[in-house]
Symmetry: C2
Subunit: 253 residues, 2 copies
């Protein structure tokens, strides 16, 4: 399952949600990959992140409800919860007599950035090693439950989770918007309505999406996204939960 070449890997990589039930993932392999992933760039070399590795099947099961027990976590062999970690850095500063001050919106934003870069470097390394991975965006929905399960102290906020296992399916290589939708030359060029329709036309014509739209009784994919997948009311509810949790962790955003 190792990719044939680097170029080939980056253009054909995709999420893997089904893992070989009979093939364990060596925790020492995960440790080595995490160690190398930390060589990724980070803000001021403060390393304001950490990861919690869950490998025990019962402990994975205990973590699953926070991710709505989706298949990727239910059959994962290893789960990595990537967190902002101001605690280590703040305690170190305090031990040296310095008063640190990352627990604000700048610190939170750097924390999310650095944790994501660290996580993505891990994902690249894991996939190049032949492992399948899946990001769980549910992490910020149920951060309080995750913090409780993983005993995350004040100053630590889970932001993204990666499930890992040897693939039992081919990676799902999903379509992307055309380059001119995501890259602007010199300044931001606002697309016309016609441009916008063009950007999304390939996606909207795909059989899988059309079926999904129909099953949900919607007129089109935009309605499916806005009303079913990521409805405002749900996002606002979970934003309030997340904000309360972040503040309780001592971060004033």
């Amino acid at each position: 399952m190792k990719p044939q070449s680097i170029d080939n890997y980056f253009t054909t990589r995709g999420t893997v949600r089904a893992y070989d039930p009979d093939r364990q993932v060596d925790p020492n392999l995960i440790r080595r990959l995490v160690s190398v992933a930390a060589q990724a760039p980070n803000t001021g070399n403060m390393q304001i992140y950490c990861a919690v590795m869950t490998t025990d099947p019962d402990e994975i099961k205990a973590l699953a409800p926070a991710h709505f027990s989706q298949p990727a976590i239910m059959n994962a062999k290893s789960v990595l919860t990537f967190c902002i970690d101001f605690r280590r850095y703040h305690r170190w500063c305090q031990l040296g007599g310095g008063e640190p001050g990352l627990n604000n919106l700048q610190g939170y934003t750097w924390g999310v950035l650095d944790t994501a870069i660290f996580a993505q470097q891990f994902v690249t390394l894991a996939e190049l090693e032949g492992l399948g991975t899946c990001y769980l965006g549910t992490t910020t929905y149920n951060a309080p439950m995750i913090a409780d399960t993983l005993k995350l102290p004040n100053g630590v906020v889970p932001v993204i989770t990666v499930t890992v296992g040897y693939p039992a399916e081919n990676p799902l290589v999903s379509e992307r918007l055309p380059l001119n939708a995501i890259l602007h030359d010199g300044v931001y060029h606002d697309p016309t309505d016609e441009d916008l329709k063009d950007f999304y036309s390939e996606k909207e014509s795909m059989e899988s999406y059309r079926r999904f739209v129909e099953e949900n009784g919607k007129e089109n994919l935009a309605q499916l996204y806005a009303q079913v997948r990521y409805p405002r009311a749900s996002n606002e509810h979970f934003s309030a939960v997340l904000k309360k949790f972040i503040k309780a962790q001592g971060i004033d955003i």
Copy 2:
């Protein structure tokens, strides 16, 4: 300058801030790398990000003050400003009659995550191609200035910038904390004060840091970080600037 092997690349990669003044970076190479980078995972395949590419030397100069005119941008051949972009997604939803709702803390957090993952995939691809890169964390300090220069409309927030050029120096491979400082097994294990001192002892004994501490009249590295590099007052000032800007861009965090 191409890395000899993938394994070697990931363990020896580092930031490059000095670029060959005589060697241009082909904008079409950047376009190809950005296009491949977009194959990185993202939340719900919404692609709530964009990048603005600056290659004109005068336009790079115009962007530099927002990054305190640091050397990496002053001699960069190409600059990529990676932004959260809710605008494209929201407009598309509205065209289809759906009411989108990402302009809140959940959306902001996913936006920062996805933009960082996209940027990091670009950095990996660029470095494997033999280019040198440097992240500019100053992006969130001066987001309003950057938005003004790059004509970023409502719903678009710059979060991280990458400078690019062919290396005129070897990558700076900087030290990292030991693995047990950043990886926890099963649950978060709070280090003792002694553990913490151990984690940072290698860093604190480095000649380069010791000189930096002395030059700034501080007692130790923790004080240098907390009082000189990332002082609370400065972080809080720039947090207020960022919050005001994010709200002005229509995002209610």
